[in-house]
């Protein structure tokens, strides 16, 4: 296949990828969008086979490995519970990163195959592109592995910080750039390997100081990195499908990071530099005094909600941990039978990844037109009888609106306290991730339901 023809096909698959993302603008068009994505990928793979034109033994092996990898991927995709999506996405990011590293290594070892010159005399531009691709890929890989371990609970979600951490990261980052410069001068393979090794280290160091609840930002950021790594390789291979995709994915991850940061009212650098929560914990503990709390049981909650005319559900990470989404849907079904109007309010950073709560609710067969974003629903709390807060905490804390000294001051929060009564399902009065006491617990119109989210919801269903 001629180079021009294959380039045209790569362009087509790039456009199909754009359409795949475009489809996600609404749930109705999203499934078609996914098919566009699959079509684009199929075209890219077939065109590559045809343009390489090598259908010998190697081709059989390629198909073999494709099937092996594909089967593993398919099994994971069907088996994975929806609550584990954040880990899965982090794990997938690491694979993209490592694949980028491998392709870059391969291009460095055998530049002729990619038309990049010969060993020891690789084109300058290609050398820069492939080393950048390898470096970003390596950072994506090791960073995603750390994120995966933290999300999976294998590694503690607490931020790991030490003195001089940021200076060390900065120095290592500069070292990578200096090494790339010397790589261009010397073409030495030792320098190339050092770049890859240091980048792996940087990935680890970059993610360990970031705490568990900041994972939505981390995942989005790694998503972005995996895109930039792909684009770097795309420049090396002079392949437009890869360049387009890399740019799309890179900007997508960047926008999601921005949305997540805005949802917490923190700057991107504030999150990246990490260590939040660890420093504020002591302060909030000392100011904590015993305040009266009203607590109730499932029957009280059932009574309140049954006699309400409208209920707003506020789910958070705790719902995912307790796997309470199905019980919640059952509760809502019986409420609806009693003529209660029910809607769901989702905070942008609820859960451990963007859109996490929406997927869990969709899994439990909650229609997506009953689920609302913060801006859409926040005014409705004032006219609502009961707010049922399940597994959320910091995102409902009114202190974010009133106390400029609070670390979460300025963060957009759901105005649950404006509803006539608030039911707060929580295991204890412990503060949320940010280490800040929630004023809402002590309000007159708040009834605390101390229990596991799933158990409590099931009991409410029973007494309804």
């Amino acid at each position: 296949m001629s180079a021009n023809l294959s380039a045209t096909f790569y362009l087509i698959s790039g456009i199909l990828f754009i359409l795949a993302l475009r489809g996600l603008s609404s749930p109705e068009t999203s499934r078609r969008g996914n098919y566009f994505g699959i079509a684009g990928m199929t075209i890219a793979i077939i065109v590559t086979f045809l343009s390489v034109g090598n259908f010998g033994t190697g081709f059989i092996y390629v198909l073999f490995f494709l099937v092996i990898g594909g089967s593993v991927g398919a099994i994971i995709a069907f088996k994975i519970p929806m609550t584990a999506m954040p880990e899965l996405v982090a794990g997938f990011h690491s694979l993209v990163g490592l694949a980028a590293v491998f392709v870059a290594i391969s291009a460095f070892l055998n530049p002729e195959a990619f038309n990049l010159g010969v060993i020891g005399n690789i084109k300058l531009a290609s050398l820069i592109e492939m080393s950048l691709g390898a470096a970003i890929g390596a950072i994506t890989f090791s960073g995603s592995i750390i994120a995966f371990l933290k999300l999976r609970g294998i590694m503690s979600g607490a931020p790991i910080t030490f003195k001089g951490q940021h200076i060390l990261n900065l120095l290592l980052g500069l070292t990578i750039l200096v090494l790339i410069f010397y790589l261009c001068l010397s073409q030495s393979s030792n320098i190339f390997w050092s770049i890859v090794a240091i980048s792996f280290l940087v990935g680890v160091l970059l993610i360990i100081p970031i705490g568990g609840a900041d994972m939505p930002v981390v995942i989005s950021m790694l998503n972005s990195y995996s895109g930039w790594a792909a684009a770097g390789i795309g420049f090396t291979l002079e392949n437009s499908a890869l360049i387009i995709t890399g740019a799309l994915v890179g900007s997508s991850g960047a926008i999601l990071s921005y949305i997540m940061c805005k949802g917490m009212n923190r700057s991107f650098f504030n999150v990246i530099l990490g260590g939040w929560g660890a420093t504020d914990q002591s302060k909030s503990v000392s100011s904590k005094e015993q305040k009266p709390v009203k607590s109730g049981n499932a029957d009280d909650a059932a009574f309140l909600m049954k006699n309400a005319s409208s209920v707003i559900i506020v789910p958070g990470y705790g719902m995912a941990v307790a796997q309470a989404q199905h019980a919640l849907r059952e509760m809502v079904d019986s409420l609806k039978k009693n003529g209660v109007k029910v809607s769901y309010a989702i905070h942008p950073v609820a859960g451990r990844m963007p859109g996490h709560m929406n997927v869990l609710l969709a899994e439990a067969n909650v229609p997506y037109d009953e689920v609302f974003e913060l801006e859409e629903i926040n005014n409705d709390f004032a006219n609502c009888d009961v707010a049922y807060v399940i597994g959320a905490n910091d995102v409902t804390n009114p202190v974010a609106k009133s106390d400029p000294a609070s670390p979460i001051y300025g963060m957009p929060v759901l105005d649950v306290e404006k509803s006539k009564s608030v039911l707060f399902v929580k295991r204890s009065l412990s503060p949320g991730y940010a280490g800040i006491d929630n004023d809402l617990f002590y309000r007159d119109n708040t009834l605390m339901l101390f229990a596991d989210a799933k158990k409590m919801t099931e009991e409410i269903v029973k007494s309804l």
């Binding site: 993302l21 996600l24 603008s25 749930p27 999203s30 499934r31 996914n34 990928m41 890219a44 590559t48 390489v52 190697g58 092996y61 390629v62 092996i68 990898g69 593993v72 991927g73 398919a74 995709a77 929806m82 999506m85 899965l88 996405v89 990011h93 993209v96 694949a99 980028a100 491998f102 392709v103 290594i105 391969s106 291009a107 055998n110 195959a113 990619f114 531009a125 998503n223 895109g227 420049f235 291979l237 002079e238 392949n239 437009s240 360049i243 995709t245 740019a247 799309l248 890179g250 900007s251 999601l256 989702i346 990844m353 963007p354 929406n358 997927v359 969709a362 899994e363 067969n365 009953e370």
Partner: protein, 100 residues
């Protein structure tokens, strides 16, 4: 004077960033998780490079080091392609409208 082809690729890259910017802002927030899994899947188009790397042979031996890295990259990318698209599909199937 001739324009370096690199400039054309750079143009594609920068324009795609703009396209990405506008397209991603139009994605509804409730589909942000599928957005991440599908971007994951499409960024595995890096398999194109892996295939070239795996099949490049200038000698009889099809298992030179550079080929091996290509084969490994194929496995990784394939996990991602199939896993990414299928899990996205699975999620999107779950988004249903209210029954009237």
């Amino acid at each position: 004077m001739e324009i370096d082809p690199f400039i054309f690729r750079l143009s594609i890259f920068i324009l795609s960033i703009f396209v990405g910017y506008y397209v991603v802002w139009s994605v509804t927030p409730s589909l942000h998780t599928p957005l991440m899994s599908v971007t994951n899947a499409i960024s595995s188009v890096i398999i194109v490079g892996a295939i070239i790397a795996a099949l490049a042979n200038n000698s009889e031996n099809i298992f030179q080091t550079s080929n091996l890295f290509g084969f490994m990259a194929i496995i990784l990318a394939a996990v991602n392609i199939f896993g990414g698209f299928l899990v996205t599909q699975r999620m999107l199937q779950m988004y249903k409208k209210k029954k009237k």
